[in-house]
C-alpha cells in the first residue's frame, strides 16, 4: 500500500514538473518579443553561451571528422570504394553527428553553466529581489539565455560539420591519399542541400530549443540550496542529453524514413 502510494506520488510529481516546465516555456516565449528592444542582453548571453562553446565545438568537430575519415577509409578501401569517403564523412556529419554531438557538447558546456547560474541566482534570492523591484526575472534573466541558446546551437552545429568535413578531408586526402576530386565531386553529387543540410539545421534548432529549455527550467526550478543546485545541474546534463538522443531518432525517422 505504501509503495503504491509512493509510486503515485512520484508519478504526480513528475507530471507536475512537466506541466510547470511547459507553462514556463510559454512564459519565456511570451517574454521573447520584448527582448528585441534590449539586444545588448541577448548579445551578452550569446557570448557566454555560444562564443565560449566555440573552442570545444571546433576541436571536437575536427577530431570526429578525422576519425570518420580514418575509419571510413579502412572500411571502404576493402571494397575499392574509397572514392566515396567524402560522401560518407559529409553525410554522417551533416545529418547526424553535427547536430547531435554539438548538442551534447552544448548541454555539457553551456547547459550546465546556465542551470548553475540561474539556480545560484535563485538560491541567493537575486530572482526574488528582481521581483521585488517589479522586474520580471523571466524577461530579464531567462528569456535572453533561452533565445541565445536557441540561436547559438544551429551555428555551432554548422561549424562542427564544416570543421569535421575539413578534418575528414585532411585525413582522407592529405594522409591516406584519396583522390581530391573524387572526394569533393562524389560528396557534391550525393549530398543534397534541402534534404541533408537543411534537415540537419532543423534538427539542431530543435535540439537548441530542448537543451536550453531543460537547462533554464532546471535552474529556475532548482531547490535553492547548494545541494539542490548541484542536483539540478546534473539533471540538466542527463535529461538534455537523453532528450537529444531520443528526439534525434524521432526526427531522423520523420525526415529520412518513409514512414
Amino acid at each position: 500500500m505504501n509503495s503504491l502510494q509512493q509510486l503515485g506520488h512520484g508519478t504526480l510529481t513528475a507530471f507536475q514538473r512537466l506541466g510547470r516546465a511547459h507553462l514556463f516555456l510559454f512564459a519565456i516565449l511570451a517574454g521573447t518579443p520584448s527582448l528585441l528592444l534590449r539586444l545588448r542582453l541577448l548579445i551578452q548571453q550569446i557570448f557566454s553561451v555560444g562564443v565560449l562553446s566555440l573552442v570545444i565545438t571546433v576541436v571536437a568537430g575536427l577530431f570526429v571528422g578525422m576519425v570518420l575519415g580514418l575509419q571510413g577509409y579502412y572500411t571502404l578501401v576493402d571494397f575499392g570504394a574509397e572514392d566515396s569517403l567524402g560522401v560518407m564523412v559529409a553525410l554522417s556529419l551533416v545529418r547526424e553527428l553535427g547536430p547531435v554531438v554539438a548538442a551534447l557538447l552544448f548541454a555539457g558546456r553551456a547547459g550546465s553553466a546556465l542551470t548553475a547560474e540561474i539556480g545560484l541566482m535563485k538560491a541567493t534570492e537575486q530572482l526574488s529581489g528582481m521581483e521585488m523591484m517589479a522586474v520580471d526575472p523571466l524577461k530579464r534573466v531567462i528569456a535572453p539565455r533561452f533565445l541565445a541558446g536557441v540561436l547559438s546551437l544551429p551555428l555551432l552545429a554548422a561549424i562542427f560539420s564544416a570543421v569535421g568535413v575539413m578534418g575528414g578531408y585532411f585525413v582522407g586526402v592529405g594522409v591516406l591519399g584519396v583522390d581530391e576530386g573524387a572526394f569533393w565531386s562524389q560528396m557534391q553529387s550525393r549530398v543534397d542541400f534541402d534534404e541533408d543540410i537543411m534537415n540537419g539545421v532543423i534538427k539542431s534548432i530543435v535540439f537548441g530549443v530542448v537543451v536550453t529549455w531543460v537547462a533554464v527550467f532546471e535552474g529556475y526550478d532548482a531547490v535553492p540550496t547548494s545541494a539542490g543546485v548541484s542536483r539540478a545541474t546534473t539533471r540538466t546534463v542527463v535529461y538534455a542529453s537523453l532528450a537529444v538522443l531520443g528526439l534525434d531518432f524521432v526526427l531522423t525517422a520523420l525526415m529520412f524514413g518513409e514512414i
Partner: protein, 158 residues
C-alpha cells in the same frame, strides 16, 4: 565600455563563422555549387555515353592525373555528351590525335577519363576538341551483348 565592445565583436565573429560554415557546407559539400576553380587550359571531347562521369572527375594519362572534368553538357545537334576538361598547363605536350576513353577505377569506383597520346606533331591547346573518344562501358549493355552472343552461339550449334 571596452569590454562590451570586445564581447560584441566576438559575438559578431561567432555569428559570421556560423554562417560561413553553413555557406561552406552549402557550396562545397552539397550539390548547390556551380563554380570550381581549376587552373589550366580547356579541351573538349564528345562521347556517346558518359556513364557515371561527374564534374570534378579526374582526367589522367597512364594513370597520372593531369586535369579534371569542369563541365558536362548535352549537344542537341550531334546527340552527344560534351565533356569539358581543364588540363594542368604543365602538361602541354598532348598530341592532337590523343584519344579519350571513360574508364572505371575498380569495380565500384568512380569513373574517370583516360587519355591515350597519339603520334601527331601538333599539341592540344585551349578550346581544342578531341575527336577520338570511347564511351563509358555500361554494365547492362555489356551483359546484354554477352547474353546475345551466347544465345547466337547456341543457335549456331544446333
Amino acid at each position: 565600455m571596452q569590454n562590451t565592445r570586445l564581447v560584441e565583436t566576438l559575438v559578431g565573429v561567432f555569428v559570421a563563422a556560423g554562417f560561413a560554415a553553413l555557406f561552406m557546407l552549402a557550396m562545397k559539400v552539397s550539390n548547390l555549387n556551380a563554380f570550381s576553380n581549376v587552373e589550366g587550359y580547356e579541351v573538349m571531347a564528345k562521347f556517346d555515353n558518359i556513364g557515371g562521369l561527374k564534374v570534378l572527375s579526374s582526367v589522367s594519362v597512364s594513370g597520372v592525373r593531369i586535369g579534371r572534368v569542369t563541365s558536362i553538357a548535352y549537344d542537341q545537334e550531334s546527340y552527344l555528351a560534351v565533356v569539358t576538361m581543364t588540363i594542368d598547363p604543365k602538361y602541354n605536350r598532348l598530341p592532337t590525335d590523343t584519344s579519350a576513353s571513360i574508364f572505371t577505377s575498380g569495380l565500384l569506383g568512380e569513373q574517370y577519363i583516360g587519355f591515350e597520346p597519339g603520334g601527331e606533331e601538333a599539341f592540344l591547346k585551349e578550346g581544342d576538341i578531341i575527336s577520338l573518344t570511347q564511351s563509358a562501358m555500361v554494365m547492362e549493355q555489356i551483359i546484354g551483348q554477352f547474353l546475345f552472343s551466347k544465345a547466337s552461339e547456341g543457335s549456331k550449334a544446333e
